[in-house]
């Protein structure tokens, strides 16, 4: 039987693929909010990968990083949205 943490590694690999797919929304997304949505998605996926990796590596304390990331990505999202609120015209 494969070790259980192999499943976690596999899941994280899949998340890596999703991250690259979501990154294309950052590249393509016609407006800035679209790119921000892409960034937000990547944030959530990275948090999921970090939690999974923490379990897979048996490194308990790695979960802390996910918490830090969850909070700080929120700050980033707020900053970008605050900037967008003051922007005129949604193009480009």
């Amino acid at each position: 039987m494969i070790d259980l943490n192999m499943y976690f590694y596999g899941a994280v690999g899949a998340f890596g693929l999703y991250i690259i797919i979501s990154a294309f929304r950052v590249f393509l997304g016609p407006t800035v909010p679209d790119r921000t949505v892409g960034l937000d998605t990547i944030n959530t996926l990275v948090i999921a990968s970090m939690i999974g990796l923490g379990a897979a590596m048996w490194e308990t304390l790695f979960i802390d990083i996910a918490i830090v990331y969850a909070i700080l990505s929120f700050v980033t999202t707020l900053f970008i949205s605050k900037y967008m609120e003051g922007m005129e015209g949604g193009e480009a």
């Binding site: 304390l61 790695f62 802390d64 990083i65 918490i67 830090v68 909070i71 700080l72 929120f74 700050v75 707020l78 900053f79 949205s81 605050k82 900037y83 609120e85 003051g86």
Partner: protein, 164 residues
């Protein structure tokens, strides 16, 4: 233009600030046991400041206090290092002496971690955390002041016209 963000964001900010600060302090004082330390914890605490700044669009009048806090942290840090001059600078003279932060591990190798160890390492973590949180808050404060995203203070004289 309104400088505050929406009501939902403000409420969530109010709720999150205290846990974020606690989390930062946790990272600082457990720096010698778990990943983290003065710098990371300080950055997390500063991000709570950033959260307040961005959600409310204004900042208190604590610039001088923050500046003093920063200097104080660094002064204590370098004094901690200089006290080690009995041997050499940066000598860890507290570790293993048995007093505050001078505890010893019962066993080497894997252990869950004991907070009362580490000597100057723990203290320096605290000092660096003090300095970094104040410093990064000051950077956020100063950069946001010029950006027009914040509520203007009365003392700022906007001279935006271009020299030729």
């Amino acid at each position: 233009m309104k400088y505050e963000m929406s009501r939902v964001v403000r409420t969530v900010t109010d709720i999150l600030v205290v846990p974020i600060i606690i989390f930062g302090i946790y990272l600082i004082i457990h720096g010698h046991l778990t990943p983290g330390g003065g710098f990371q914890g300080g950055a997390v605490i500063a991000s709570s400041t950033a959260l307040l700044v961005i959600a409310y669009g204004s900042f208190g009048k604590h610039k001088k206090d923050l500046s003093s806090l920063e200097s104080l942290g660094l002064t204590l840090f370098i004094l901690l290092a200089l006290i080690g001059m009995g041997s050499t600078m940066f000598y860890n003279y507290i570790s293993g002496t048995g007093g505050l932060f001078g505890g010893t591990l019962p066993s080497l190798g894997i252990n869950p971690g004991y907070i009362n160890t580490g000597g100057t390492i723990t203290l320096m973590n605290l000092m660096v955390g003090l300095e970094v949180s104040a410093a990064l808050s000051l950077i956020i404060w100063m950069m946001s002041k010029r950006s027009g995203m914040m509520e203007p203070e009365e003392t700022i004289s906007p001279s935006e016209e271009v020299e030729k």
